[in-house]
Each structure stands twice: as C-alpha cells, then as structure tokens.
Symmetry: C2
Subunit: 272 residues, 2 copies
C-alpha cells in the first residue's frame, strides 16, 4: 500500500506514483525468486484528485506492469475522503518449495547486494529540493526497477534474500535476525554510483537511506563464482553466528577495511 | 475496498467492518461460481484508530474468512492520514471456462434471486437510528453471508449471475444490459422476510436498497426444477429481448401481477 503524504508527496507526478506502486510489489516477488503472474489494483482516490490524475496514475502502473510481463486482472476503484490510498496485490509463481525468504542463511555465507546503494535516497533529497537536480538520482527514487531476472536466477543459489526498501543496514539486520545470525558488512565494499560518490555522503549514511529496491542476499562461499557470473552484484560482507561477535549486541556490524567497527547511530529509514 | 465515511460509518463496530470486508469479496466469488482459494488484506489505518480497534477489525475479518474456508496469505498494513481505507483481494478457483458472468443470459431465461431482499437496507436504517432496533435486520446489514454454496451449484445451470450489492433493480438492469436483454420483474414475486413485510416499505422500494449480497441469476426455463431443488431461491421474472418491450427504454421493468408497469423513480443505491 502507498498512502499520500506518507509514501508519496502530494505533488509527485502521478505516472511515477503508478510506476513505483507496481515496482515495489514486483520487487517483493523478485526477492522471493518468483516470476510475476498477475496483479490486482485497489485505488482509493482521495479529495482533490480528478480523472486526469487517476488516468496518469494508471498509465504509470500499466507501464511498469507491461515492462515486466505482469497482467492486471482485477481490483477496485473508489472515491474516498482525505488523501489517496493505493493498494496493489502482486501474485507470483515459482516451483513448489523454492521460494527465497529472509531466513535460511547459514553462518559463513557471503552477503551480496545488487546494483548500487543510496541513489534513491539521494533522489528523494532531489525531489525535496534539498539537493541539486540530478535526473538519474531522481529516477532511481521515482522509477525503481524490480530485479526480477536476478531474483529468478538466485533460486537454488542464494540461501536467503530480501529487497532493500528501508535501507541496506536495516534490511541486512532483518535478514540476519530471521536467520539467527549477524551480518558483518565492510563499508568500502558497499557499491556506490558515480553520482553517489560525488554527493559527498559517506557510504555508512547512504546505507541507511531507503527505496533502493536492490536485492540483498546470502549465498555459500563455495558458490562465489556462480554468483559473480550473474553480473551487477557486489560481495559486501558475510554472516556470522549470533553471539560469536564481540561488541554491542546488534544484528548488523559495519566495519572499515581493517575490521574496526563503525558506530551506526540509526540503522533505519522513515518514509518521507 | 471499503472506506470510512463512504462504505462504513466511523462508529460501526470494527468486528462487523472486518466481517463485511471479507463477506462482500467472497460474495463476488460466489457470483462467479468460484470456491475461495486465498485472501490478501491491505489495511490503511487512519487517524484516531488504535491497536485495539485494528485487532477487533482483524478478528471480524478472520471470523468470516475462517467460516468460509479462505486462508489469509498476505497483505500490508500502513498508517495513513485521514480516514481508514481497507482493501481485500479474494482469489477463487473454478474449472477453466466455467466462471459465471453478467453476460450470457438468453431471452426467455427465468430470473431468480436467493434469500430475501431489502433486509440489509432496513438494517442500515436501524444502524442510523431511523428505524426501531431489530437485531436480525441489523445483522443482515453488518454481517452479510456470501452465498458460496449456491454459487458453486449454479455453475453449469445458470447462464449469468451477479451478487445484489447496489439494489435488486439496479443489479438486474446491469445483468440485463450485459446480456443485451431486458429484465422483467414481478413485484409480488420479490422475496421478503417477515421483518421486511412488517416494515411497511413496499417491495418496489426495498428492491432499490443495497447490501443484500444475495445472488441474482438467469437460468433456462427448462431447468426450473433443478434450480428450485437448490432451495432458498425465488423466481422473480424473466429476461426479454431488447426492443421487444413496449414503454420506456430501460433495462429493467417492474410489473404488478396483472402485467401493468410500475414506474420506478430511481433504480439505484448510493452508499451510506
């Protein structure tokens, strides 16, 4: 669900809202290794929104669903008081028993992430006028691309996976906790785009921003070459047993190249 | 989707809202002749609603889904500004090609309806304090029962079906229009409960009230005995060719016992 004033601002272009609604749901399917089967769309159109706005929203939704081969098969549209609420249900398909989940990683597994981290968070700052205009960063925020092909390839290879929606560190801590482990991440290995490097924001801070919609996953060290061959993935750390790590009791540890811990004040991401 | 202030009042008991959200979606499956497979629940919890309210809502939802063998398999819960928005996606199963729809009825088919008509509309008036308290009428409004068993039995027998959500006459006109026909209904054959008869409201007016969630369906006259054997169904009229009926061009005609037309000012039902 996406709600106006919570997950998107009132002045966000409706095409982009529609795209993002589809993309974030398809990203959940990608993290499970599923192929999109169908989607159902619930639109609670709020006050001050006209047919033109709703049509543009539907156009953006259709563009993203079409781009990923996902037919829209049902839903409902209502008028409501207050702001707009959007609900998408995405159905996926995968072989029985093959779904990837947050739990399932083992101690010693490598920790990987696709693409680059922090661009969407910087794009939000562009949208808010808090950072100079940058088309690419803004697109990463408003038009995320679900990693469906990669997700499908990870079935049978990865032991656990999540999509990075609330920040790399927070989502890594969730994967680690669900698997009963601790994630240890090397700051210098977090993949950054040129634009992110040029932003002057440290990787440790970019890793707390949300909306990346990259895949974060664990895989046995023995399968490192297979994972690398998938392309556009970076090994950022490893998973360790819970209780085997010195220091504060946390599910995610960020370290510098020499293994020294980096203190993280706040793992998390708050919407808008 | 159900929205606070549109589909339910702010003071409606949350258990009843949850029940009704599930029931109205399962009713759509019933009208297609489908068996419930799974449901996904999106809750946009609005301002002024606490965890106790949301828990009671979930309890009512679970009660209805459990009563009809429909597991809840996913969804999302968010906080939002303004009033509450609820979105349920119900998935059903039926043999390929066997789904009942609005179109498909033939001229000469009988028109049938299950249960009794108008009780829920009177129940709404009870809820609004515009009618003396009546537990049974209120329950018909707040706790509708989806006609899933009947819907399944109608596959292969009915030629078209809808659930009566916006009033018998309006939904009959929709079925007739989708089938390219005219529905002719005999007022005296509209099934009424004891309470509805005692209300003093005419059948023609009860047939314009919403929220019945009974099944309205067409079936060939040759299968009349089969339909009657299903029980709790009433034959209320027949379908005629479009253009074959004298009088104003409308998709639904209400008549008295002697075939004289009854003028209907407004077919429709507006929520709340």
């Amino acid at each position: 669900m996406l709600s106006e004033g919570i997950h998107f601002t009132s002045n966000c272009p409706p095409e982009d809202i529609g795209w993002k609604l589809a993309a974030v749901n398809l990203s959940d399917l990608a993290a499970m290794g599923a192929r999109p089967l169908a989607a159902l769309f619930g639109a609670g159109i709020g006050e001050g929104r006209d047919a033109g706005w709703a049509t543009a929203l539907a156009r953006g939704l259709a563009a993203c669903l079409d781009a990923h081969g996902c037919p829209l098969v049902g839903g409902d549209t209502i008028r409501q008081h207050g702001p707009t609420t959007l609900a998408l249900t995405a159905l996926g398909h995968l072989p029985p028993g093959s779904a990837l989940g947050r739990c399932g990683a083992s101690a010693g597994d490598d920790l990987w992430v696709s693409g680059t981290i922090g661009d969407a968070g910087l794009g939000l700052e562009v949208a808010q006028g808090r950072r100079p205009f940058d088309r690419r960063l803004l697109a990463r925020y408003r038009r995320p691309v679900p990693r469906l092909a990669l997700g499908g390839q990870l079935r049978g290879v990865a032991t656990a996976a999540v999509d990075v929606s609330d920040g790399l560190l927070l989502d890594a801590s969730r994967l680690a906790e669900a698997s009963g482990l601790v994630a240890a991440i090397v700051e210098a290995d977090i993949p950054l785009s040129e634009a992110a490097r040029a932003s002057g924001v440290a990787a440790r801070d970019l890793a707390t921003l949300g909306d990346d919609y990259e895949l974060l996953f664990a895989a046995p060290a023995s399968r490192r070459d297979e994972v690398l061959a998938l392309g556009n993935v970076s090994r950022i750390g490893a998973l360790h047993p819970w209780g085997d790590v010195s220091g504060p009791r946390t599910r995610v540890l960020l370290r510098d190249r020499d293994g020294r811990p980096i203190v993280i004040a706040d793992l998390g991401h708050r919407h808008l």
